[in-house]
């Protein structure tokens, strides 16, 4: 029996406001424990929440950029449960009247551009963080994160594979980064996701039983967790058993999920409207103002890159999805670089280094002008492509430009014919067997000799000049 996987995601993104959602503590990652708290976000008796208007601004922007309807009136609700990281023993969230609803996000699969529905986006406050010391009989809690504003983005169960889920997450990340609403750094916890998975035989209309999986801390973990859950459910069904509705916890190190809560143990949050806060009224003027502040969205940028710069969809897709890469790209083109060349460098060597160093593309320390300069050095023959690949990492480490690095380290290409001929003659004299091979008709020797010449010149010899001159010299020798 062939099964179809049905996936829905709940994504929590920390908003990049200056202050927390209900108090004026700074909203920043890190810091000494319990230094960014106040009576309100620690929930001291007698304190009251006051809504930070910027949070609503950001939520509206997120909603608009995901084609959602924006509620004209909404409210906040208390979600009640006991846990040490939740100071008031309730989280202020939104229950039945979310700020945004009925939207969608586009993903580019191999086959098509697909719409993934967004059921709702709502605002809520984050909890603190528990720290469990290894082997200790106590835990510590840090409330710096308590009260940080979150939006929860709930998707429709429209994804059909772990790959689609990954694309969805990347899409959300690129949109939120583009509109400046969240920095989406999963390693800092500013983007978190819970996965909902069910399976059903192909062709069946009804959905199968859905399980929820929490503690998924990276996009790749999401893919792994979805695959595991799909396989687990299919195995159960094939064995004639049923899938239970449960909440599970993903353990990435072990590559497995474990039961957290069964359906019977599901918590009753006793939601009721937050009596300490007034309803939120959003009028057309507010929505229009937010709409006007929105920058170009990734999908629109992608389309523009394809038409204006003649980039293939693959390139346009990847560049437009990354705030860091697209900024450098456009700057480089403005400074004279050919679009496809700039794209190749960004998606190739530069992305390689970014991934190796586990940084975000927004953290690349040089701009598009610098990239354009590097490219022009290659095109003018000052350096070879190989040398350029050596210069690039140095541009990450030093604050020098490509030109400065080439000069300082004497990396300029040797293009002088005379110098190259001298090099060729030296190499040929040290490689008599290869010369003999060539004269005997083995053209392969050219490649070997070229390599030797490049080595002898420490990569600086201009390959084009080698090409012409090597055969000339060899043929002269024969003659």
């Amino acid at each position: 029996m062939k099964y179809e996987t049905v996936i829905g995601l709940e994504v929590h993104a920390e908003l990049a406001t200056n202050t927390k959602i209900y108090c004026s503590c700074a909203n920043q990652f890190g810091g000494d424990t319990n230094t960014r708290c106040c009576p309100v976000c620690i929930g001291l008796p007698g304190t009251l929440p006051v809504l930070n208007r910027r949070v609503v601004d950001f939520a509206i922007k997120a909603g608009l950029s995901m084609h959602c309807d924006i509620a004209s009136v909404c409210k906040q609700d208390r979600k009640n449960y006991f846990y040490p990281d939740l100071p008031k023993a309730y989280q202020i969230s939104q229950f039945d009247l979310p700020l945004c609803y009925d939207g969608y996000v586009e993903i580019d699969t191999e086959e098509e551009t697909k719409k993934i529905g967004i059921t709702r986006i709502h605002i809520e406050e984050d909890a603190g963080k528990l720290l469990h010391a290894e082997g200790a009989n106590f835990s510590l809690v840090d409330y710096n994160r308590g009260g940080v504003p979150l939006i929860e983005i709930v998707s429709e169960p429209d994804m059909r594979s772990p790959e689609e889920a990954m694309l969805f997450l990347e899409s959300i990340k690129s949109i939120l980064q583009a509109i400046g609403v969240s920095d989406c750094k999963m390693q800092e916890g500013s983007l978190r996701c819970d996965i909902n998975v069910s399976v059903r035989p192909f062709g069946q209309k009804d959905f199968g039983v859905r399980t929820e999986c929490k503690n998924v801390n990276s996009f790749r973990a999401a893919v792994r967790a979805i695959r595991y859950e799909r396989d687990r459910q299919i195995a159960l069904l094939e064995a004639g058993e049923t899938v239970e509705q449960e909440t599970r916890r993903w353990d990435d190190a072990k590559g497995m999920s474990f039961l957290m809560r069964s359906k019977e143990e599901a918590q009753d949050y006793r939601y009721f409207p937050e009596p300490d806060l007034m309803p939120i009224h959003i009028d057309a003027a507010w929505i229009e103002k937010m709409q006007n502040e929105l920058p170009e969205l990734p999908q629109d940028k992608k389309r523009r890159y394809m038409t204006s710069f003649d980039l293939p969809q693959y390139d346009a897709s990847l560049l437009s999805a990354s705030k860091g890469l697209s900024t450098i790209f456009e700057e480089a083109v403005q400074s004279g670089a050919k679009p496809k060349t700039a794209s190749n460098w960004l998606l190739g060597e530069i992305s390689k280094i970014v991934n190796e160093r586990v940084i975000d593309a927004t953290e690349i320390p040089f701009d598009g002008k610098a990239l354009a300069e590097l490219i022009s050095l290659i095109e003018s023959g000052t350096i070879s492509g190989t040398i350029a690949k050596q210069v690039l990492p140095k541009m990450f480490d030093k604050s020098q430009s490509a030109k400065e690095i080439v000069e300082a380290e004497g990396l300029a290409q040797i293009s002088d014919e005379g110098a190259i001929i001298d090099l060729i003659k030296e190499v040929l004299s040290n490689n008599a067997p290869a010369v003999a091979d060539y004269h005997a008709g083995k053209d392969r020797a050219i490649g070997f000799l070229t390599g030797q010449i490049m080595r002898a010149s420490k990569g600086k010899a201009n390959p084009a000049v080698i090409q012409t001159k090597l055969r000339e010299v060899l043929n002269e020798m024969k003659a």
């Binding site: 001291l44 007698g46 006991f82 309730y90």
Partner: protein, 488 residues
């Protein structure tokens, strides 16, 4: 007892400004009086003698420097122990917070500090403001200064007793279902709950968020208006606080009643109200008529659903507001807890008294899945109807006149066996909180046992001035004998 202690704030303020007495003298007189009678009244959980003398001293320095002073400068006042005072223990009369010291002032406390009041102590109350007799305090029982065998009312029993016994010139209390008005009536002092939102709740340790308000307990209506002027005002820290156009409460004090329409709702005088109280209300009505006011019959039929509506909404909100007391960050923490669940269960079982636990359980039930619609949501709908009742009534009158309490102060232990009996004591006051209206209890004589009777004046939302006006007029008409013999 120093006759100074019997005086009103406005009279004392005159003396201070005229330099007939110093603030320090006044505070010392009150502290001496407290020392003398407190063991027989128990108004206070904490008497803040040192702080009081420091504050009084600071006022005297200002006077010496010729600085302009507020109308409450140097006046000793008590603060109910659920209102946060920076650096001063704030216990809510509970084991859960027995050693809790807030690191900040409630907004009203800050305002009174700015007005140079003198904080003489934190007043006793029912635990977490849940009760009508102050018998639910973890620490002690406050006695009614008019008759020490009797309860002072609750939950602001300590505040009312302190004023009635002249231990403080005025006090702050909190009112969720009558907790200022009812003890004021029981002890024979003035007590007012302002319009919901008029006074900031920031720093008031929450019981029921949509019902709680802080208000004054005073010796007369003028003092009440004076205190209200200082503590009222929109607060950015409280999202439910309102801007009021007319905060000239002292300006509203006027003996002229011509054109005033006083509404008399029959439902509030039917069965269950003791005869002397009914009589006092009707006498008040007659007095208003004599002064030129018109008595209008109004109907408030939703009164029959007010108690259930109140107990459901207040308990639901309380169950959520009191969930933060889990032993993790501050307050009481049970010992010998082996895991998280034990920490929560033991701390809350040991830290809370019976009435608090009763209401938390009721509130949790009312909000729980499967019951929310039938109870909490239904109660909120009933709330809307109660509001409409009052709106209709106020189309035909300016102020509504009712009893404050169905009975005068009862003896200790008389009602504490049956919680429902205790709840019935709130019947006249709860609908006011449900509708968010301003209301004041005015002493109107005593019953045959010498126990004080209070009548209640209810105004339309934001019409606190009308309430004070009506109260002042009745008070000044001398219709009722003043309540004397307070304290020693």
């Amino acid at each position: 007892m120093d006759s100074l202690c019997k005086m009103t704030a406005h009279a004392l303020s005159e003396k201070i400004k005229k330099r007939e007495i110093s603030a320090t003298e006044l505070t010392k007189a009150h502290l001496a009086h407290i020392e003398e009678i407190e063991p027989n009244v128990n108004s206070f959980i904490t008497v803040t003698s040192e702080t009081a003398l420091e504050m009084a001293n600071a006022v005297d320095k200002k006077i010496a420097n010729g600085e302009a002073l507020s109308s409450l400068a140097g006046i000793p006042m008590a603060i109910k122990d659920n209102i946060s005072t920076d650096g001063i223990k704030t216990t809510c009369a509970s084991k859960m917070l027995q050693n809790y010291v807030p690191p900040f002032d409630a907004t009203v406390v800050d305002k009174l500090r700015q007005a140079d009041c003198v904080f003489i102590g934190k007043a006793n109350m029912d635990e977490f403001a849940m009760g009508s007799s102050t018998e639910n305090s973890y620490f002690k029982k406050t006695k009614n200064p008019r008759n020490t065998d009797c309860i002072p009312g609750g939950s602001s029993g300590g505040s009312a007793a302190a004023v009635a016994a002249n231990e403080s010139v005025f006090a702050l209390g909190s009112d969720t279902g009558g907790s200022i008005r009812q003890p004021a009536a029981m002890c024979g002092v003035v007590g007012m709950k302002p319009t919901y939102g008029l006074v900031s709740r920031y720093g008031l340790i929450a019981f029921a968020s949509s019902l709680d308000q802080i208000g004054p307990l005073t010796k007369d209506v003028r003092d009440c208006a004076t205190v209200l002027e200082v503590i009222a005002g929109k607060d950015d820290k409280d999202s439910t606080s309102l801007s009021c156009e007319n905060t000239n409460f002292l300006g509203a004090l006027n003996e002229d009643c011509k054109g005033m329409r006083i509404g008399l709702p029959q439902e509030y005088l039917e069965g269950g109200i003791d005869a002397p109280i009914k009589e006092a209300v009707l006498n008040a009505a007659k007095a208003y008529e004599k002064m030129g006011a018109e008595i209008v019959d109004v109907s408030l039929p939703m009164l029959s659903h007010a108690l259930e509506t109140y107990y459901m909404i207040s308990s639901a909100e309380a169950s959520s507001n009191l969930a933060r007391y889990d032993g993790v960050r501050y307050g009481f923490r049970a010992e010998n807890c082996n895991n998280l669940e034990e920490l929560f269960l033991k701390t809350r079982s040991e830290g809370f008294g019976d009435e608090v636990k009763r209401r938390i359980m009721l509130g949790t039930f009312v909000l729980s899945s499967g019951y929310y619609d039938a109870y909490y949501k239904k109660a909120q709908k009933a709330r809307t109807l109660i509001c409409r009742d009052f709106s209709s009534a106020f189309e035909n009158c300016d102020t509504i006149l009712t009893p404050t309490s169905p009975c005068t102060a009862w003896k200790f232990g008389e009602k504490s066996e049956d919680p429902l009996q205790m709840y019935l004591a709130d019947i006249c006051t709860v609908s006011v909180n449900i509708a968010g209206l301003p209301a004041l209890s005015l002493p109107c004589g005593v019953d045959t046992n010498g126990l004080p009777i209070g009548i209640q004046l209810i105004g339309d939302t934001m019409h606190d001035c009308d309430v004070l006006h009506a109260a002042y007029a009745l008070e000044q008409s001398n219709t009722f004998l003043p309540i004397g013999g307070a304290g020693a």
